[in-house]
């Protein structure tokens, strides 16, 4: 089932038909035991979970299972960590929590995974079936609550269904457009005997997904590209999910065409590649935005024309362009933008076919124009002698090496990281893109470090986001995860402040984080060493020192609250109204 693609396992191989392994080692037993056996058989190595009343039988069975369990300090961390684990490893992430508050605490994380199309399986405890619907202790209707934010969900009412449901859940989560699948397990069900632990062959007549694109359409796309004078590739998260990064790179090199990425697409083409114009959208590079605005052919791959890219102006976005939209989800075609050449299929398979058929277009004037823009509007910042956040990120890129994983929280630091950290490969830059969840970064760093124990993991966070899941310092110590915490501390909610400064006449409302703790003392209380950095000269030394320490380290970078993220296309404005570039 699993196949190696550029060094990482991917959970799904679109070219093979789903086959059942007959080698299941499961033997009959109670639901909890069979559940864990089937999970192990699915290749699950780690579960991020938090126990509770409804799951006691499962936690008892866990003592006899080979599956590793990681215990964070909040259920939200379980789901974010499983999410990041999936993003890093390409496998389906697994988390679990007990009924009621435990399940409810997962909701934000499930929404986060849903928005970014991340394959996770969520296991929740539930009250016994005879108490369902009676407002019993620690009961919530979690399948009902999460319906709009899951790809599918199950409330198991018969223990004999457990093997089939688990098998289906992994199949649904990891194939097609990936997403979260929830399995709600009543307490009596996991305690009931399962006589037949072998899952049947997955048979879902109502679930289908496309793999190979329509060859005629790919032919059309190749023709359109050959005739184009101003083509641009617009690459998103789907490129990374499908393992299409390498073929995308070959394609843009063979055809010698420019490429822009979304926030989710960062890493699909290595930073610094001559054909890469940078990130597109609200805080993207001016050149990337101008290129999309001016192009005559937009090759959109694994993207969904999010409003952070289109500025919510679907009728003014890439208006001169013919649009080729390659996506595995047919519902994305035409959702926001009318498409001339839709291709429903797996990004990697479609790009491989397009690569075979591509005829490089002759576009010297377009490249001249793009190079002029790049020269005129470079991504830059003013080095004013203060500690600039951009300097920190550039230095991290320098000292961290090519393989460091970066997870971010949400806010200004996230956008600076997207702009200035040199991401070299797919599955290296982990961020909450669609939902924009503050508090995601630290759990994500934990999930990433568990997935790749030998790689350097940076958490880039702010003092606002960090305090949303600061309790995970304990998890970091308990599992000896050597995460390097890069805290950009400006004492305010920086992104909110930036908007209030720019669009609300500097009427600052509720953005001061008075009474911030001394973060170094907090870290030290958990046994994590801290370093404070207040000037640009200290940055490199501090980072090197942090890297030399074998365990987790927190670096408290004191930056100015007046720093802003530029360039910026204000919401609802066209690219020509971009701030910070004088276009």
């Amino acid at each position: 089932m699993n196949k190696l693609i550029d060094g990482t396992l991917i959970a799904r191989d679109p070219e093979t038909v789903w086959e059942d392994e007959e080698s299941l080692s499961a033997t009959a037993g109670i639901g909890a035991k069979v559940l864990l056996d089937v999970l192990a058989n699915e290749g699950v190595e780690v579960i991020f979970g938090y126990p509770g009343g409804s799951l006691l039988t499962l936690y008892d069975a866990l003592l006899d299972s080979p599956i590793r369990h990681v215990l964070p300090r909040h259920e939200q961390t379980c789901v974010h960590a499983a999410d990041a684990y999936a993003r890093i490893s390409g496998k389906v992430g697994v988390c679990m929590a007990t009924s009621g508050p435990g399940a409810a605490n997962l909701v934000t994380g499930i929404a986060n995974a849903y928005m970014d199309s991340i394959p996770i399986v969520i296991i929740t405890g539930q009250v016994p079936t005879h108490l369902l619907g009676s407002d019993s202790f620690q009961e919530v209707d979690i399948t009902g609550m999460t319906f709009p934010i899951t790809k599918h969900s199950y409330l198991v009412k018969d223990a004999e269904d457990i093997p089939r449901i688990v098998k289906e859940a992994f199949h649904i989560a990891g194939t097609g457009r990936p997403g979260p699948v929830l399995i709600d397990l009543p307490k009596n069900i996991i305690a009931a005997e399962v006589t037949d632990p072998r899952p049947p062959k997955v048979s879902l007549k109502s679930y289908k997904f496309f793999t190979k694109g329509n060859s005629g359409q790919v032919e059309e796309a190749a023709k359109a590209l050959a005739q184009s004078k101003k083509p641009v590739v617009y690459a998103g998260g789907g490129v990374i999910t499908s393992g299409a990064g390498p073929v995308l790179r070959e394609l843009i090199e063979k055809a010698d065409i420019p490429v822009v990425t979304t926030l989710m697409g960062i890493g699909s083409v290595p930073s610094g590649h001559t054909n890469l114009l940078g990130m597109v959208g609200m805080h993207g590079t001016i050149t990337a935005n101008l290129a999309v605005n001016d192009c005559d052919l937009l090759i959109a791959v694994g993207v969904r024309f999010d409003d952070r890219v289109t500025s919510g102006l679907k009728h003014r976005f890439a208006t001169k362009a013919k649009v080729i939209h390659i996506d595995i989800d047919p519902a994305e075609i035409g959702k926001v933008i009318r498409t001339q050449i839709p291709i429903v299929g797996d990004a990697r398979l479609v790009l491989e076919e397009l690569f075979q058929k591509v005829i490089p277009p002759d576009i010297p004037e377009w490249w001249e124009q793009l190079r002029r823009w790049q020269k005129e509007y470079p991504l830059q910042y003013e080095q004013d002698g203060h500690l600039n956040p951009q300097t920190i990120l550039e230095t991290m890129g320098k000292v961290g090496g090519e393989n460091a994983i970066v997870t971010t929280d949400v806010g200004q630091h996230q956008m600076w990281a997207a702009q200035f950290y040199p991401v070299r490969s797919s599955r290296q830059f982990i961020t909450s893109a669609g939902l924009g969840t503050m508090g995601f970064g630290f759990p994500a760093a934990i999930g990433a470090q568990i997935a790749k124990p030998d790689r350097l993991v940076f958490l880039v966070t702010g003092d606002g986001s960090f305090q949303m899941n600061i309790q995970e310092l304990a998890t970091t110590v308990q599992y000896q995860l050597p995460i390097k915490i890069i805290l950009m501390n400006n004492g305010v909610l920086g992104m909110v402040r930036q908007w209030q400064k720019m669009f609300y006449n500097e009427r600052f409302s509720q953005i001061q984080l008075h009474a911030n703790p001394d973060f170094i003392k907090v870290a030290e209380a958990y046994g994590i060493p801290g370093i404070r950095v207040e000037s640009p000269e200290q940055v490199e030394t501090a980072l090197q020192k942090a890297l030399a320490i074998p365990g987790p380290v927190l670096i408290d970078f004191i930056i100015s609250p007046d720093e802003v993220v530029l360039p910026m296309v204000p919401p609802g404005k066209a690219i020509t109204e971009i701030l910070g570039g004088n276009v």
Binding site: F147, P148, G334
Partner: protein, 165 residues
């Protein structure tokens, strides 16, 4: 414009909620929704009537509905040659003086009286919405106590079934 969608789904709990939730979130008004068993034991058929001016948005909703794992197939019956019907039960005030007039109306519409007592009658009528609306309008003069309607169900004419379309 009114659209009639035939949605074939797995007969599983929560499917109806999922479908109506998804449609209403995308800002459509569901005019009617009717669900029932079909020729296949594990399949339910839901007929939904929605008001949608923008074909593009409707297509989006159909695409989104198709993504639900329990949805087997969606057919837009709007443009098709089809039969559609609704059933209504109407409780009307019927005194000895007015009863004959009411029965007269019932006969004209080829409806049936299914219950009668000293004060009221219950009229059962099958037909297209307009027919039901028309009869309700006439019966209003006598005093309608209660109306219950099933919502539209629809089926294509000819030998082909919806799942084969």
């Amino acid at each position: 414009m009114k659209h009639t969608l035939a949605v074939l789904v797995e007969n599983k709990p929560g499917v109806l909620t999922h479908i109506s939730g998804l449609i209403s979130r995308r800002a459509f008004n569901i005019e009617s929704i009717a669900a029932g068993y079909t020729e296949e034991p594990d399949m339910t058929r839901i007929t939904i009537v929605v008001e949608a001016d923008d074909e593009y948005v409707l297509e989006q909703v159909v695409n989104q509905l198709s993504k639900l794992i329990d949805v087997i197939k969606i057919i837009d019956l709007t443009g098709q040659d089809r039969v559609h019907r609704e059933l209504a039960l109407i409780k009307v005030t019927a005194t000895p003086e007015t009863r004959a007039d009411i029965l007269n109306i019932v006969e004209i519409f080829r409806a049936h009286v299914v219950d009668v007592n000293k004060e009221t009658v219950i009229v059962q009528l099958t037909g297209e919405e307009r027919k039901i609306d028309a009869m309700c309008e006439l019966l209003e003069d006598y005093g309608i106590r209660e109306i219950v309607r099933t919502g539209r169900i629809a089926i294509c004419r000819g030998p082909v079934s919806a799942k084969e379309v």
